[in-house]
């Protein structure tokens, strides 16, 4: 067993949820998303973000519009579609279940039962 591999597997599962969470809070462009994730301590390679955003957009979870940037060409600002909202809610629900279950499992059982 490789610890790196297990770690990355764990991270993989929640990254998509986190990205959608950032976008749900407000229209954002990839640079923002990366900054926010890093600020929260989640390391992410930018290179994984772009294909993911494109796939989510192709699956009609996300939509984007071009917004003029102060420096140079316009940027793509992403936001959730209605389908994406539902998708996010589902994921949020699953996350709550998971975190509850995982926390329960990793908490040591009272021994005096």
């Amino acid at each position: 067993m490789n610890i790196d591999n297990t770690q990355s597997q764990m991270r993989k599962g929640i990254l998509e949820f986190c990205i959608l969470s950032v976008i749900k809070r407000g229209e954002s462009y990839p640079g923002d998303i990366v900054d926010e994730m890093r600020a929260s301590g989640l390391q992410i390679l930018e290179g994984t973000l772009y294909p993911l955003l494109t796939r989510l957009k192709n699956a009609e979870m996300l939509t984007y519009r071009w917004v003029e940037s102060p420096s140079g060409p316009p940027r793509k600002y992403f936001s959730l579609t209605e389908k994406g909202q539902l998708f996010y809610q589902e994921l949020g629900h699953t996350w709550e279940e998971l975190s509850f279950a995982v926390n329960k499992i990793i908490t040591p059982k009272p021994t005096n039962l």
């Binding site: 990839p30 640079g31 390679l45 930018e46 994984t48 993911l52 796939r55 940037s69 060409p73």
Partner: protein, 689 residues
């Protein structure tokens, strides 16, 4: 000392050190390869380029004079190298489509899960067939290409036709590029064109071995000639020379084909592919810093010489090679030209044949133009017929010619919509063809006969004369350019007239002469067929000439109204002659009714089935009196006997005769078969009138 160049990246003009730019290009190329599975690869690459440009811009605004390699490494580290992305990949494209798919598949080297055979629209030379096959079985497309070319030569074009068929039948698709070991020509180590050393790199063997393999037949030939081991047998020597000579010829041709087909491994990336090394950025950097040769380095050879002493020797080699290159590029161009000419001859030939076929078709269509009113029985059939003609026959020819012209003047179609349109139209043509054929064949499903008894004048005559007093049927229209004999038929917009009346002579059941007209037609059901049969117009007039003989005056042809269409209508005239009765045919019958035969009925074997009749085709002679014998056969009055052709036997359900009077008359005595007589006009001659 590093050169600084100005680039335009995603719409931003930036100053960048040349080595950094090189690295950037390689990084983007590696991403392109990594994302080749991705549906929206270009979009992702654009986004990433845009992001990098933005970060560059930020750096310059912060005061950087230009973008250096260090800047780039920092950005790449944040963005992720392909091999890192493979590790951190969040979702596989397949996982997106099928929720619940495992994450176990990841990384650059996993193959596609489901392979289907498509033509490759992405990396093609001609139609993408070879590339498609290679993708299907997962090997370098160059191997399939070489096989196609070689087999096309040795099979005299049959394989090339197979290629064209696949081209036509197999749909095209944007297939992912082949990833893995590739055949390249190796520019770093070459004697002639680097073919042998490229192959050697592919198989990871010494280039010398491959060169020897190419030269082996020639070397062996020379060796054996020197040793002169065949001094006794001239035949063995000839055989040997021929076999080794042709082997050497083969290896020369193979070398030339590979020379033309194999690309040169120009970039570091391609050189890695040539050696089959797993490609990632780390390796490329390593390779470049190890002093690998690429085209750019040739250009700044002087810089390299000054800065890196260990490279100087290599550069000298390079300069030498550059000299070599300029001397070999000329024969290469000539060979390229040679293949181009071959290509033009081959495909041009096909195009010309197709054009001729098309013209013949068009011309044939014009010739049979007046006939069109007689072909389709419904508007639907007419539409289908024209759709078949235009879509099934015209579209592929036009498409092919357009493609050929484009190919020859070297313009590549920017989009595939043209080929899709042509392909779609042609598919529609197929549908139209099938529907048209089935619709027409339905019209022939049922055959119906209409029998008309012609009233005979009441005479005591025992002779019948058959004649045609109407003028010979001739074409009355204005198509003066129709070549050949325009007799035997006539065509007007509302009537088709034909003169091929079939005449049968049978023994009569009683003592009277009888004449019947049978009209036959096909139709989609019984009613349709019988209505069509009734619509046939045919006139027979009978008269009694002087009381001694009855004259049957046959019409010169039967008419089919355009409204009832041509569905294999025909007219048979049945003449029934009483036993002992006489019959003769006027010369006009033969000359005016283009094709007919007289048939008499005979019973072949009464032992098992007394109603088993055989019909013998009987070549009558004009103006000769025939007498109906008691055995049901016609004999000429002068005793010479009829010309019987017993070869032409046709069984047919008997047409119900006029009500029989005497039952015993049906039990005709057993006939005797006459020998075949070869003189007289041949059936062919009769047919041609």
């Amino acid at each position: 000392m590093k050169r600084i160049i100005t680039i335009n990246l995603s719409g931003r003009v930036l100053q960048i050190e040349e080595p950094a730019y090189e690295q950037l290009q390689q990084y983007i190329a590696s991403l392109r390869t990594y994302f080749s599975k991705e549906e929206s690869r270009e979009e992702i690459i654009n986004d990433i380029e845009g992001r990098i440009a933005e970060q560059f811009y930020g750096l310059i605004q912060q005061g950087a004079a230009c973008i250096t390699e260090e800047h780039l490494y920092e950005i790449i580290a944040a963005m992720g190298k392909p091999e890192e992305l493979a590790d951190a990949e969040i979702i596989e494209p397949t996982a997106m489509q099928e929720p619940g798919a495992s994450f176990s598949q990841s990384g650059i080297n996993t193959g596609t899960t489901k392979r289907e055979f498509f033509r490759d629209a992405n990396s093609k030379v001609l139609g993408g067939v070879a590339s498609g096959i290679a993708n299907f079985i997962g090997i370098d497309p160059v191997i399939i290409r070489v096989l196609f070319v070689l087999l096309s030569f040795s099979s005299f074009g049959i394989v090339a036709l197979g290629y064209i068929l696949l081209w036509i039948l197999v749909p095209a698709k944007e297939l992912e590029d082949y990833r893995g070991r590739r055949f390249y020509r190796n520019p770093d180590d070459r004697v002639l064109a680097g073919v042998a050393s490229g192959i050697a790199a592919y198989f990871n063997v010494s280039a010398r071995n491959i060169r020897l393999l190419f030269l082996a037949p020639l070397l062996l030939q020379i060796l054996f000639s020197i040793l002169d081991i065949f001094d006794d047998s001239a035949i063995a020597e000839i055989l040997f020379n021929v076999s080794f000579g042709s082997l050497f010829g083969f290896s020369v041709i193979l070398y030339i084909i590979l020379w033309v087909i194999l690309p040169t491994a120009e970039t570091s990336y391609q050189k890695m592919e040539m050696r089959g090394e797993t490609i990632n950025l780390e390796r490329i950097r390593q390779y470049v810093s190890e002093g690998g040769v690429n085209k750019k380095m040739e250009e700044w050879g002087k810089d390299v010489e000054l800065t890196a002493k260990q490279l100087s020797a290599r550069v000298e080699e390079l300069a030498k090679e550059a000299k070599q290159k300029s001397s070999t590029s000329k024969p290469l161009r000539i060979i390229g030209l040679f293949f181009k000419i071959l290509f033009v001859l081959f495909f041009g030939g096909i195009a010309i044949v197709l054009l001729i076929a098309l013209l013949a078709l068009l011309f044939g269509g014009i010739v049979s133009w007046p006939l069109q009113h007689y072909i389709w029985s419904s508007a639907q059939q007419q539409v289908l017929a024209w759709a078949t003609f235009a879509l099934f026959l015209l579209v592929p020819v036009i498409g092919f010619i357009i493609w050929l012209i484009r190919r020859l003047i070297n313009t590549k179609a920017g989009h595939t919509y043209l080929s899709w349109t042509f392909g779609g139209l042609w598919a529609l043509g197929w549908v139209a063809l099938v529907l048209f054929a089935s619709s027409i064949s339905k019209d022939f499903r049922y055959q119906e006969k209409k029998i008309e008894n012609i009233a005979m004048p009441t005479t005591s005559a025992n002779k019948m004369v058959v004649t045609v007093t109407e003028p010979e049927l001739e074409y009355s229209g204005s198509f003066s350019w129709i070549d050949g004999d325009p007799s035997g038929w006539d065509l007007t917009p509302d009537t088709l007239k034909l003169s091929n009346i079939l005449i049968k002579v049978e023994p009569s059941r009683d003592s009277s002469y009888q004449v019947q007209v049978v009209r036959v037609a096909n139709g989609k059901d019984e009613q349709d067929a019988s209505e069509r049969a009734s619509a046939i117009r045919y006139q027979i007039s009978t008269s009694a000439a002087g009381g001694q003989q009855s004259v049957v005056d046959l019409g010169n042809g039967y008419s089919i109204p355009a409204s009832s269409k041509y569905r294999a209508q025909e007219v048979r005239v049945i003449l029934r002659v009483p036993v002992g009765g006489r019959i003769s045919f006027d010369e006009s019958v033969r000359s005016k009714l283009s094709s007919f035969e007289v048939k008499i009925r005979q019973r072949t074997d009464s032992k098992y089935d007394r109603y088993d009749w055989t019909e013998h085709h009987f070549r009558y002679r004009s103006n000769i009196e025939y007498i109906m014998g008691a055995d049901g056969e016609l004999k000429s009055a002068d005793g010479s006997g009829p010309a019987l052709e017993s070869m032409n036997i046709e069984l047919e359900p008997p047409i119900p005769p006029a009500p029989p009077i005497n039952k015993e008359a049906m039990l005709l005595p057993r006939s005797k078969i006459y020998p075949v007589q070869v003189n007289g006009p041949s059936p062919l001659r009769l047919l041609l009138g």
